[in-house]
């Protein structure tokens, strides 16, 4: 077996850099010296090239680092950023390698022996990996090994050479000091006391002997390193849904400017969906303020879509109506309801082809006005005239109005099943104030007393003095109300 280990030693720093790259404007000059400090240990864990040239080194205390240079941008080490970034990287590499296991906080194992058949050799495989990793600008050390642990040790020792000969790999391993192995301080101490300083010396010991003198952890590790024991790895599985964050390096107060980072996310979404042959009908955007509060925007299209341009135009419309209470510091894009891409075959014989499909039109209007203002109409089986009409969000789907269909079918057998109803109904009946003369009626509507909206009303069709055709009713208390117009 052959394994490749990638060690992204400055993962958080590079993640910030790449998001800065995407958002670079004239207003935000790149800060020169950046260090990332682990707050618990109070030491520098990651630093950029400028910081190195100032004499700052890894493992240096914060105070020492600050005394070396005046203007240092100091950031706190956040494992969760590395965690997320690592998963994104795994997602990218998953296209080229089937077996990937993540090694938190900032490394990953790739099993390559089974992939070499496909790529015809180690070199062309590595070119493919570099082709993915180079453009995004993450720094990494790499090495191969016959076991995952060997690849990891060699990569962390910055071997940065690809070897597939087990003998050469062993030689490279022998050259390491035992401090470079992942050993516990206690075990290191014990080894030092018996005079073992080089890995070569350590590996010369047989496992049996080792088991007598040292504890089980060391034995396990050496066993894994040399491939005697099985190394349990949990392989990466690509997520079923799209969920990506962008941390903004500066605060955005204008909702219009937000579309630029969002566009970046949508490009990623397009890649994600097009590779999988999926489309989505709903996007959720979380615009996060400082202190973890966020506003949620959801954007819908009845017709699934994966293309960035189509979604971006809807996002723009949505952003028009968004008022930011605070500046936004991070954006998250979620796409949960994914379904397979199907070809939308239009009517082959219709003379005109619509520029915009019905679903798309509804989506555009919903994005501009809000979902609650765009309604379809359904008819349900209810005597109560105000309850017979129901509005649905978006266009009424045919199967939600089964009752209507049933009614339409009935109507064929029993003519005149539909009652004469006014075209425009008042949402709430208002007391009748005009003088009217009655044309037709009464039609008594009495609903069951156990219903919530129990009514008993006598409805009349009446014409007002101005010629309006009104639908009015009288309650048992002899009060008159206006219910609608026969417009």
């Amino acid at each position: 077996m052959l394994w490749l280990y990638l060690d992204f030693h400055s993962l958080q720093l590079d993640a910030l850099d790449s998001s800065r790259e995407t958002l670079r404007t004239e207003l935000t000059p790149a800060p020169e010296v950046v260090i990332i400090v682990d707050a618990k240990k109070n030491e520098v864990v990651q630093l950029n090239a400028m910081a190195k040239s100032q004499g700052i080194t890894q493992g240096m205390g914060l105070a020492t680092a600050l005394s070396l240079h005046q203007h240092i941008q100091v950031m706190e080490y956040k494992p969760d950023i590395e965690f997320r970034t690592l998963q994104q990287l795994a997602q990218l590499l998953y296209e080229f390698t089937a077996d990937i296991a993540l090694a938190f906080p900032h490394g990953m194992y790739l099993r390559i022996d089974n992939m070499l058949c496909l790529y015809k050799g180690l070199l062309s495989y590595w070119q493919q990996i570099e082709y993915v990793l180079k453009p995004i600008g993450y720094q990494y050390d790499y090495a191969t090994g016959t076991t995952p642990a060997m690849a990891k040790v060699l990569a962390q020792a910055k071997l940065n050479t690809l070897l597939d000969d087990p003998k050469k790999l062993k030689q490279a391993l022998y050259g390491l000091a035992i401090e470079q192995l992942e050993l516990e301080p206690k075990a290191l101490n014990a080894l030092h006391r018996v005079g073992v300083k080089q890995t070569k010396q350590l590996l010369a010991l047989s496992l049996k002997e080792m088991a007598k003198r040292f504890d089980i952890h060391l034995l396990n590790y050496i066993g894994k390193l040399m491939g005697e024991f099985k190394h349990g790895l949990i392989f990466y599985r690509p997520p079923a849904e799209f969920n990506v964050d962008i941390e903004l390096l500066f605060e955005i107060e204008n909702s219009q400017i937000l579309q630029h980072p969002i566009k970046r996310l949508l490009i990623q979404l397009e890649q994600f969906l097009s590779i999988r042959g999926l489309v989505t009908q709903q996007l959720t955007l979380h615009l996060r303020y400082r202190y973890l509060e966020f506003i949620e925007l959801s954007i819908n299209r009845a017709q699934g879509e994966y293309k960035m341009e189509k979604w971006l135009s809807l996002v723009r419309l949505k952003l028009e109506s968004v008022k930011l209470a605070e500046p936004v510091v991070a954006i998250r894009l979620l796409a949960r309801q994914l379904r397979p891409l199907t070809a939308d075959s239009g009517d082959l014989f219709s003379q005109k082809s619509p520029q915009v499909s019905v679903d798309e039109l509804v989506a555009v209007i919903q994005a501009k006005l809000g979902d609650n203002k765009v309604k379809g109409v359904c008819l349900i089986d209810q005597h109560h005239p105000q309850l017979a009409t129901q509005y649905s969000e978006g266009l009424a789907i045919e199967n939600t109005i089964e009752n209507t269909k049933g009614r339409a079918a009935d109507q064929k057998t029993f003519e005149g099943r539909y009652k004469l109803r006014p075209s425009l109904m008042t949402a709430v009946a208002v007391p009748l104030k005009e003088h009217v003369s009655i044309l037709h009626g009464p039609e008594r509507i009495q609903t069951n007393w156990w219903h919530e909206h129990s009514i008993q009303r006598d409805y009349y069709i009446a014409r007002s003095d101005k010629g309006r055709l009104c639908w009015v009713y009288r309650t048992p208390q002899k009060n008159w109300y206006l219910q609608g117009y026969f417009a």
């Binding site: 619509p354 266009l395 425009l424």
Partner: protein, 230 residues
């Protein structure tokens, strides 16, 4: 001459002998109206309907809407009250192809109307709006031609406006409706490729006997206003 060119270019003048307007007319379903409109309403464009509220202004357009719905959605933008599903279903309107936009801000209503008209997936758009500027109506007209859709612009008149009349905006057909016992009295104020008519009586007694009153009169021209005959 220059003056005329200017108006012509802005589409404010049309020629009586140019009858390419008359192709593909859609029947309104009412004989008197169809005769006056040389066969029916145009299949696309802006139709201005000046009317008091609740006299049958929607029912008058039902046959037209039914035909237009075969081509796409019917969009109701800013209706003055809740649209009733049973009324639509009873008149053979397919409810799954009806969209109601409950937006009452003038600018947004116009935006929606334009989007719908030019989308090409709407048969007809019904818009309730007090008035439109010439620029706005031109824009809607172009959108309706682009999407082969039609706009029914309902301008609800107040009682005072009913007496004085309202100035028409540029449109393909402009009509004023008034209540009548047997249905509706229609004045065609303007139409492209045709002349104006006054006092056309639209008889709805056969279709809606419960909503009309007067006995069948011998003449189909009814003077307006007319008092109900008992």
């Amino acid at each position: 001459m220059l003056e005329i060119d200017k108006y012509q270019n802005r589409g404010l003048i049309w020629f009586g002998n140019k009858n390419d307007q008359l192709v593909g007319r859609v029947k309104t379903g009412f004989v008197t109206l169809d005769n006056a409109l040389s066969g029916g309403l145009p299949p696309q464009g802006v139709m201005e309907i000046k009317t008091p509220m609740g006299i049958g202004e929607l029912r008058l357009m039902l046959p037209y809407l039914k035909q237009k719905q075969t081509l796409g959605l019917l969009v109701f933008i800013g209706p003055p009250a809740m649209l009733d599903a049973e009324f639509l279903a009873a008149n053979d309107i397919d409810l799954s192809k009806v969209l109601v936009i409950s937006e009452y801000e003038s600018e947004r209503m116009l935006w929606v109307a334009e989007q719908c008209l030019k989308s090409g997936s709407c048969g007809a758009v019904l818009l309730w709006q007090k008035t439109l500027s010439i620029k706005q109506s031109r824009r809607l007209l172009l959108a309706s031609e682009q999407g082969e859709s039609s706009l029914l612009l309902y301008r609800i008149m107040t009682h005072q406006q009913e007496q004085t009349g309202v100035f028409s905006i540029p449109s393909n057909v402009s009509m004023t409706l008034a209540p009548a016992p047997e249905g509706i009295t229609v004045n065609i104020d303007k139409q492209r490729g045709g002349r104006s008519f006054k006092g056309l009586s639209v008889d709805m007694r056969d279709i809606w006997p419960d909503l009309t009153t007067s006995p069948i009169s011998t003449t189909n021209v009814v003077a307006f206003p007319k008092v109900a005959v008992h």
